[in-house]
């Protein structure tokens, strides 16, 4: 029957998507590598080929190390919390309790609200004389410069990312929990296992693939944070909250140093591709049926 379709039908069907993917994914992908060998810093209209110089400068730039450090702090703080806490919430919600839908809606709300609005809302909580510092003062502590103190700013921004992600991952875990056989829990109840042992011996081993999946996708999105930082701190103070995407943006669109920014983009590209590859090969084979 496939003869019926004619020789070229399949290509014609794919063509529109292929054009978009080639122009806006594949060409830019290769061009990113190309740009990273060019120097735009003297003249934005006349790039000069400089080989690996951008990379050499990059790896001699203390700000770059600071930015990479911040990015990995982001990963190591946000990812474990986003992998564990939503699972805990999902387990609580998955018990037969009242008001499940309401809880789910409220906890999911931060996911759908614009990150810009979320960042503004937190900026207001973090204000010098804001509500958080009121709570701090009630504890008889000195007020904290949540976004203005270099030792706090990064963590203040990470909290926003975590807060905005919890609902998203909770729903993923809830879907996974539905697949755990009920008989296993019944067996646990008969054995008189408590809440903790029940979930450590049944739930966690059963949904391990989902935990791994959430770990990789939250790691990928932690690598890509931008809006929170742009709206709240612009990477400051003293680069203390600057992560890689923000630094790429700054070098490219504020300093117009496209080559240097591209060298950094290549670093980002390689890290994210490694995470994605792990994700696709280990956890999402079924989804793509490879």
């Amino acid at each position: 029957m496939f003869k019926y379709y004619g020789k070229y039908a399949s290509y014609l069907f794919i063509l529109p998507a292929a054009v978009v993917l080639v122009i806006f994914f594949f060409i830019p992908f290769f061009q990113t590598f190309l740009l990273s060998f060019l120097d735009y810093s003297n003249n934005i209209y006349q790039a000069k080929f400089i080989g690996l110089e951008n990379y050499i400068n990059l790896f001699h730039n203390p700000v770059f190390y600071k930015v990479m450090w911040n990015t990995f702090v982001y990963l190591f703080v946000a990812v474990p919390i986003l992998a564990i806490f939503p699972l805990f919430l999902a387990i609580l919600i998955n018990q037969k309790i009242r008001g499940v839908t309401l809880y789910k809606i409220l906890i999911y709300l931060p996911v759908i609200v614009s990150i810009v609005v979320a960042a503004i809302a937190f900026k207001w909580l973090y204000a010098d004389q804001g509500i958080l510092n009121y709570l701090v003062s009630r504890l008889n502590l000195e007020p904290v410069g949540w976004l203005t103190d270099p030792s706090f700013a990064l963590y203040s921004v990470i909290i926003v990312t975590i807060w905005k992600g919890i609902g998203y991952y909770m729903i993923i875990y809830l879907a996974a929990l539905m697949s755990v056989p009920k008989e296993l829990y019944e067996a646990c109840d008969i054995d008189g296992a408590n809440f903790l042992t029940k979930h450590l011996t049944v739930t966690i081993p059963h949904i391990m693939p989902t935990i791994a999946l959430v770990t990789t996708i939250s790691a990928i999105s932690a690598m890509k944070v931008f809006a929170e930082i742009y709206v709240m701190t612009k990477g400051g103070p003293l680069n203390s909250s600057k992560t890689i995407v923000y630094y790429i943006y700054e070098r490219a669109f504020e300093n117009l140093d496209l080559g240097y920014a591209s060298a950094m983009a290549v670093v980002l590209l390689i890290i994210v591709m490694v995470f994605s590859l792990i994700n696709i090969l280990c956890f999402e084979r079924n989804k793509y049926q490879i």
Partner: protein, 281 residues
Amino acid sequence: MKRIKFKNLYAHIILIAVSLLSIFPFIWLISTSLKGNSENIFAYPPQITPQDFTWANYSGVWDKVDFIGYFINSMIVAGGTVILNLILSAMAGYPLARMEFRGKKITFFAVLATIMIPFQAIMLPVYLITLKLHLVDSVNNFAGFVGLIMPFAVNAFGIFLMRQAFLGVPKEMEEAAIVDGCNVWQVFWKVLMPMVKPSLAVLAIFTFIGSWGEFLWPSIVLTKESMYTLPVGVNNLQGMFSSNWRFIAAGSILSTIPILVFFLCMQRYFISGENEGAVKG
């Protein structure tokens, strides 16, 4: 029996606490937006209920900021992105699910490879290409909208979602249509597309949410304020009203109403957990 009740009590306490933490930043923003000039918004202890209640901040920010314009721009961009994603994903997903052709494997893996490419890493060349193609708002508004939409017109998630949907349609449906004399386009459009409506709905909803909240790309390409989408416009409030937090709060809340209504109407798609595979990664 008693023990189960006890356990649920703890669950409720924790879930109520997390729910409150989830909405508190918005509650505090709403509270601030409703406080009049005679009330100190930095008062210690902070007052959740406005003492000098007023809608004036809303009317004030509404008069100074073109929210309707931002809303229309966001609708055009999100609407265009959704329509293109539906059409292009379905068209590309169909042959990948149902036809045999040379290069099918390569096409499949090429599409899969794009999942691994984060937009943030390739945005500089994307920007240069968009400039080269004159798809920016300095040319004209239409070109500006096209430039906002095209980099997100189709992606691998959509294509795989639709491929999966077409794999689930019984082959007999197509064969019957072919026997009845449909050509390949009619089979696709009249027979298969109605069969995959649920997947199209999922794709539409999640594409809409993603496009509606997009901030990085519009803040790179947009130069004219009249072209601002809601997230860019809201971010701009901070500059416009520097420390007038009453106006910034009112504007942020105003800008959130459309997506809130959308979410509450469509909530089952988001919180049922059936569609988690359709969302960004």
